[in-house]
Symmetry: C2
Subunit: 210 residues, 2 copies
DNA sequence: CCTACCGATCGGTAGG
DNA sequence: CCTACCGATCGGTAGG
């Protein structure tokens, strides 16, 4: 009984640590995160924090995993009930931009920021990040392919490149909002993403109209 | 004479420091840069390095300034001789993607990475970054506006949003190349940017064709 | 999960 | 531009 409670409490503490770690890392990066400041924010000792993970590297990997889970919960889960293909893609764009515009972490979309932090920095964190990003990319490509098969997107659609274009627009939301002071960054991004999924001429694409 | 030579030598050393600092910061971020490792890379003492700037903050600001100057030299200068408006915009996209695809810094486009590093991190570095980014954004908006006046872009064009869309696609080049292992990231981005500047229907936009 | 500690490195300074 | 040094903080460990 006491043993069980200990395990449950420890898991709870672990989740609490990861939540605060993700918040801090979204602002100062996974590499800028330090055990000492994390412990202070949690009102714990450094040893108490690091004991849950073994090393800072394992803490970074667990934090990244936590952030990926939040992304999945907030972006994929609301869209999953929709019919696959274009309807689900439209729902994904809505949930994605709601997530990016809220935002879930004080530093904005965690995976987008991590993409730039680790694009030239080798190591296990980057390797894990690549796995998460490729999985999401694959999901987008798959949904686009279904939409093409269903006749909801042109047969000439290049699913890889359309997915990459959607990711580019989505990633830019936080910098646009924070550095340019544009409160409508997420809404504008969503409009552009939806237009990319439509068949309108560029004259109808929100990039071009006020 | 000796005095003059000293000043010239010191300025030369300062440039050498900034060049190496920008290379290092493009990989590990301006915040991850440390005076000690920079000194080691330069085969200098820490005091010798920091003496040129006074503090790490001043070193960061000077490094950012250096990177912005490189961007201007490599992206703006080749395009400036072109006629303003659409011709110059097309030249900018070409130079920009050549710069992003080469790349000038081992860690990829410096300003794009810095945008994500400092979008939620207040301070003088962020303030300076905002100045550089807004200047470039203003340049793009101005060229787009000229293109609209000349009839080369639709009158309904929203210059602000088109500029932001171009920036989003450009920024994503390094992560796409490095994390997805796509060697054509810069070329594909350029095609998409040129399509955004064209009047084709989306069916002709490279996102949609193989 | 804590205290107490380790060697290494941090940004920065004194003095030359 | 160097050596030699400062206090603070880094990631991590021993022992409980």
């Amino acid at each position: 009984m006491a043993g069980r409670r200990s395990v449950a409490v420890a898991l709870d503490t672990r989740r609490r640590i990861l939540s605060v770690a993700a918040d801090m890392a979204s602002v100062e990066g996974l590499e800028g995160l330090t055990v000492g400041r994390l412990a202070t924010a949690l009102e714990m000792s450094k040893a108490g924090v690091i004991g849950h993970f073994g090393s800072k590297l394992e803490l970074q990997l667990a934090t990244l995993d936590h952030a990926a889970e939040v992304f999945r919960t907030e972006v994929w889960s609301p869209a999953a009930p929709q019919q696959e293909g274009l309807p689900r893609l439209v729902a994904i764009c809505g949930a994605w931009m709601e997530y990016a515009g809220r935002p879930a972490f004080p530093g904005g979309c965690f995976l987008a920021a991590a993409s730039f932090e680790f694009d030239s920095r080798p190591g296990p964190v980057r390797d894990a990040l690549i796995t998460y990003l490729r999985r999401w990319h694959g999901t987008l490509v798959r949904e686009i392919s279904v939409a093409v098969s269903a006749g909801d997107l042109p047969e000439t659609t290049n699913a890889e490149r359309l997915a990459s274009a959607l990711e580019a627009v989505a990633a830019r939301v936080t910098p646009t909002r924070e550095l340019y002071g544009d409160p409508h960054a997420a809404a504008h991004a969503e409009e552009l993403m939806l237009a990319m999924l439509g068949r309108q001429g560029l004259g109808d694409v929100p990039v071009l109209v006020p």
